[in-house]
């Protein structure tokens, strides 16, 4: 009987040690800094709007702070936060009725973001660092297309005119570039995880 009690206490202590104390302002601030960028990517993928994504992430952290007493210590903080972001996004979708995603698609995206957050929380290179590295490895025509479209903030027609190709070709290039970059980023994140383990 004493042995069972001791084991239970030990598990409880381990859980409490592994989980952040959200009541500690410093801890909460560190969690915000560690996870807000990935959560913005998550919210941006869901909403397709930069400003809306930022608003949703901000509101999600405020909800987390207000409801920290209900935080389930058996779950990790990033998972809890993604759940809050999803709920905020669903509220937004109900109001805007623009589109919806299948649960499978959301689950896939959730898995990607979870892996990125895990690396970031572990203090390793972030997904943004991985992306920077992967961009350098893109073929020249894809890299310049990505550069014009995302980093120079031009639309498809403008990029097509600048590079002297059709808008359809630009769409294909961008699609191909995203696939290659996704594979590269996943590989780097995975390699990083393997090295840790």
């Amino acid at each position: 009987m004493h042995l069972i009690s001791a084991i239970a206490n030990d598990v409880e202590n381990q859980l409490s040690e592994s989980q952040p104390d959200l009541h500690d302002p410093a801890v909460f601030g560190d969690l915000v800094r560690a996870h807000h960028r990935e959560l913005i990517v998550y919210a941006r993928a869901l909403t397709r709007e930069s400003n809306t994504a930022n608003d949703i992430v901000q509101e999600a952290f405020i909800v987390a702070f207000d409801k920290m007493d209900t935080f389930d210590v058996t779950r990790d903080f990033p998972t809890w936060m993604r759940g809050i972001v999803r709920n905020k996004w669903r509220e937004w979708v109900r109001k805007n009725k623009r589109y919806q995603y299948s649960d499978t698609n959301i689950a896939e995206m959730d898995a990607d973001i979870a892996a990125w957050q895990a690396e970031s929380a572990a203090g390793n290179r972030t997904v943004f660092d991985a992306l920077s590295s992967c961009l350098e490895r893109l073929p020249e025509n894809l890299r310049e297309t990505v550069n014009e479209f995302y980093y120079n903030d031009q639309n498809g027609e403008e990029v097509a005119e600048a590079l002297g190709v059709s808008p359809a070709a630009i769409r294909k290039r961008l699609q191909r570039a995203r696939e290659l970059l996704k594979a590269c980023v996943d590989r780097k994140i995975s390699d990083q995880s393997l090295q840790e383990s």
Partner: protein
């Protein structure tokens, strides 16, 4: 089919979002967003307890309070001044009237009732009655016995004489005969000097049995214990039937 089923289903593109966010801020953190979150969570400004707020009552607060008090009294004085300016000055005198008449002016009223019983006619013959008045100002501002002299000038038109002047002059057998009368003087403005009471603007002298209107009335005091009441300007008498 619910409404949501009409919403198109799309596939989220996490790489598109990642590239867009990377293009926006690179690998750094969104400082503005972090600050906004922290300000609304762990760095919320604390509300000071009430006693501390009271203890911090500084000179600015005192200055504000003084300004408010000054403004209050200033406004009050202004309002009172306006109210005072709008009110008509009014003083009630109790006069002991002693009539001194010249010639036969006092004799005429005695004869008028038989000749013309109409009260207006009876008054109409009262001309330039000069009286010497001993007055007691009931107001504290003039507690001494005063003697006044006033002149009542007949109104120009007999049509205006529509009342009776029953403090009959003929009851006074001698020039020193006297009686007590009460007059209420009201005017738009009044001023008290060392030697006189001055009334300006629509001066009205009210007596239970007559009414006098004038633009200006000066009640002058003499150096002795008596004072002379003199009407200046166009003091005209208009007898009214009360």
């Amino acid at each position: 089919m619910n409404q949501e089923s009409n919403i198109p289903t799309k596939k989220p593109d996490v790489m598109d979002a990642l590239l867009s966010e990377h293009a926006r801020l690179g690998s750094g953190e969104d400082t503005a967003l972090v600050e906004a979150i922290l300000l609304r969570t762990v760095n919320q400004p604390l509300e000071l307890p009430q006693p501390i707020a009271k203890a911090s009552f500084g000179w600015q607060d005192w200055a504000k309070m003084a300004a408010a008090v000054t403004l209050f009294f200033g406004m009050t004085a202004l309002v009172l001044h306006q109210i005072k300016g709008g009110e008509r000055a009014e003083t009630t005198f109790q006069l002991t009237v002693t009539y001194a008449t010249a010639d036969n002016q006092l004799a005429e009223p005695d004869t008028m009732p038989e000749e013309n019983p109409a009260p207006s006619n009876r008054i109409g013959i009262v001309r330039d009655v000069t009286g010497v008045v001993a007055a007691t100002d009931l107001k504290p501002i003039a507690p001494i016995m005063q003697v006044a002299e006033f002149t009542l000038v007949e109104t120009t038109s007999p049509a205006e004489l529509n009342g009776t002047f029953t403090p009959s002059i003929d009851v006074f057998e001698a020039a020193t005969a006297g009686r007590v009368e009460s007059f209420a003087v009201s005017a738009n403005h009044s001023k008290r000097t060392d030697s006189a009471l001055e009334y300006d603007g629509k001066v009205e002298v009210n007596h239970p049995e007559f009414h006098i209107q004038a633009e200006r009335l000066v009640v002058q005091a003499s150096s002795s214990s008596t004072a002379s009441y003199a009407s200046t300007g166009s003091l005209s008498g208009l007898w009214r039937n009360h």
